[in-house]
């Protein structure tokens, strides 16, 4: 496949199509509109399904119907739209239905703004919907990685019967970068024997896509089953990237677009002889807790940089477990931190300024 200069949102849509996404249900909201727009043209051409739903609530429930029927299915949204989807996401998690949900994050709370932010970390990683459940959350940092993680998201969803979030932001959605859209090579997946295909000529019992357990003991058992499954995911699926951590006096933890900004700051600091490391969680859920602890072993302190008031920092603090200071730098509301701001912050931490 040819490398092309492609917008993040379009790349995510193309990646999904290449991964065999059969249905897309969505609703317009900035800054992810290129995804439904692209899908509305391409999916019907391929004989696949695109529906612009009447609401985000409906979109996620159409996802439920298609996922329960065994199809590869995706929806995408941002900010207020993601909040509306949380009801359905909880039901999908409860019913163990695999699907891919793309969130191109913008500033909040409320209507907030349309500029890039990372303020939906809690919502994606800690729940968002009601009840005891976890999602898998991938956080791409480049357009190429958005392609790869979108495709991986479909695989992980099918492998474990779990909704998977691709957590991007307005920068990644809107920027263009060279990327190659490949057709993923996937390991064999379990057959979807649970899907509501209609019974047909088989002798099986009815399949039910369901999250209702009125008996508390049965519900408890179900929740513990979900938790055990997530333990297996934690064991096998954590992804994390390390940059220059060996001799770093300060290790920065950042994900997505912010990690790119930190890399720019690191380049400037390196020229001045200051060694800074970067740990970039690629899976935000499950979170690379042990990996971060290990990566920061030799550092004096840790700096978390986010486009929020500081949400991931909670998980980093759990990872560091009080062993050393964990500091924070962030901008909010759609203001993108400058590399030079991160440089200044690190110098401040070193006591140079």
């Amino acid at each position: 496949m040819k490398k092309e200069l492609i917008k993040g949102n379009i790349a995510i849509a193309e990646a999904a199509i290449a991964a065999g996404c059969q249905c897309f249900f969505g609703y317009p909201i900035t800054p992810q509109n290129e995804i439904p727009e692209y899908m509305s043209l391409k999916m019907p051409q391929l004989g696949r399904t695109f529906v612009q739903s009447e609401s985000e609530v409906s979109a996620i429930n159409m996802v439920y119907g298609a996922a329960g029927s065994g199809a590869r299915v995706m929806t995408s949204s941002s900010g207020p739209g993601m909040s509306l989807k949380q009801e359905g996401i909880s039901f999908l998690a409860g019913a163990e239905l695999p699907c891919v949900i793309v969130n191109v994050m913008r500033g909040g709370p409320g209507l907030g703004g349309i500029q890039p932010a990372q303020a939906d970390y809690y919502q994606s990683v800690k729940g968002g919907g009601h009840g005891d459940y976890h999602l898998v959350v991938y956080a791409p940092s480049t357009v190429q990685e958005a392609v790869e993680l979108t495709q991986k998201a479909f695989h992980t969803a099918d492998k474990y019967r779990i909704p998977v979030v691709v957590l991007a932001d307005g920068v990644l959605g809107q920027m263009m970068e060279p990327a190659t859209i490949t057709v993923p090579k996937e390991e064999p997946l379990p057959e979807k024997t649970w899907a509501t295909t209609s019974i047909g000529n088989s002798s099986r019992k009815p399949n039910i896509a369901n999250s209702l357990y009125l008996d508390p003991y049965k519900l408890e058992k179900h929740i513990q089953h979900l938790a055990k499954k997530f333990d297996v995911i934690t064991e096998n699926e954590i992804m994390v990237e390390y940059n220059d951590i060996e001799n770093a006096e300060i290790v920065v933890v950042a994900y997505g677009t912010t990690a790119r900004i930190v890399r720019s700051a690191m380049n400037t600091l390196k020229k001045e002889g200051i060694n800074i490391g970067l740990v970039r969680p690629i899976t935000l859920s499950p979170f690379p807790t042990d990996e971060i602890n290990q990566a920061c072993k030799n550092a004096n302190s840790v700096l978390v940089v986010e486009m929020s008031l500081g949400q991931m920092i909670d998980d980093v603090k759990i990872a560091i477990n009080g062993e050393k200071p964990v500091n924070f730098y962030g901008r909010q509301g759609g203001v993108i931190p400058k590399a030079s701001d991160v440089v200044d912050e690190i110098k401040k931490l070193r006591g140079v300024i």
């Binding site: 429930n61 119907g65 039910i208």
Partner: protein, 245 residues
């Protein structure tokens, strides 16, 4: 001995959990018999609502989805888009279809999805304990309209069949009742037509079935059937509201 009657194969052996005198059981049986008689049971996927009938996923002998409140039409859309050749139906109550899921109801109709909806209107929220429904009658007492439904506090009853009949993409709308055997037979006929339309690829069909709730109405089953005829039918007139031939 010659067998003259047997239970439809489209109901499981699980006993109904509905209150004594509730007509959900009758309507379940009608739907199940229609699925069997049309020979489509094996190809059917149903969607259960939130409300008393959420348990119907244990009663219908076919693949089922259990939906979030009001979302059954969206879920059914998802299923039908994956399996356009299968029979997909939703079974929804009044709170589900006419209140929390109004948007889903209107838009599944506007898209003309080739689906069948069985809409149970008993003018009250049964499962949650007798609160006011969008279809609760004026002056009707419920646990959230304790002095009777008034326009200023509770608004007016909503007539979904009449509304849906105005929407392009809807193929068939009929309101029926199950307060006596004659109307039960008519209801079955309507349900059969609504499924036949789907087999014939005609678009969205809905049958609104006036139903009872003796428990939350505070009546005996018999009283409730009389109440339906005397109070509900005048507000919700029976008949075909739309039919595209």
């Amino acid at each position: 001995m010659k067998q003259v009657f047997k239970k439809t194969t489209m109901l499981t052996d699980k006993p109904f959990t509905y209150c004594p005198g509730c007509t959900h059981g009758i309507i379940h049986r009608l739907v199940a018999e229609v699925l069997e008689e049309l020979g489509i049971g094996q190809d059917t996927i149903g969607v259960a609502p939130v409300g008393c009938a959420v348990m119907c996923y244990e009663f219908f002998n076919c693949d089922m989805h259990v939906s979030a409140h009001g979302r059954a039409p969206a879920i059914a859309t998802g299923i039908k888009r994956v399996y356009p050749d299968k029979i997909v139906f939703t079974y929804q109550g009044d709170g589900d279809l006419a209140s929390i899921g109004t948007a889903e109801t209107i838009h599944v109709a506007a898209r003309g999805e080739n689906l069948t909806t069985i809409f149970i209107n008993n003018a009250i929220y049964g499962m949650t304990g007798g609160q006011m429904a969008p279809t609760t009658l004026m002056e009707q007492k419920t646990t959230t309209s304790p002095t009777g439904r008034s326009e200023s506090l509770g608004g007016n009853p909503i007539k979904m069949s009449e509304i849906l009949a105005t929407i392009d993409g809807v193929c068939y709308v009929e309101r029926t009742s199950v307060h006596n055997p004659q109307h039960i037979i008519a209801t079955k006929k309507a349900i059969k037509k609504a499924f036949q339309n789907q087999i014939d690829n005609k678009g969205y069909s809905i049958v609104e079935v006036l139903s009872n709730c003796p428990t939350n109405w505070g009546m005996s089953p018999q009283q409730s059937l009389v109440w339906m005829e005397e109070n509900m039918i005048p507000v919700y007139p029976l008949g075909v509201k739309k039919e595209v031939k």
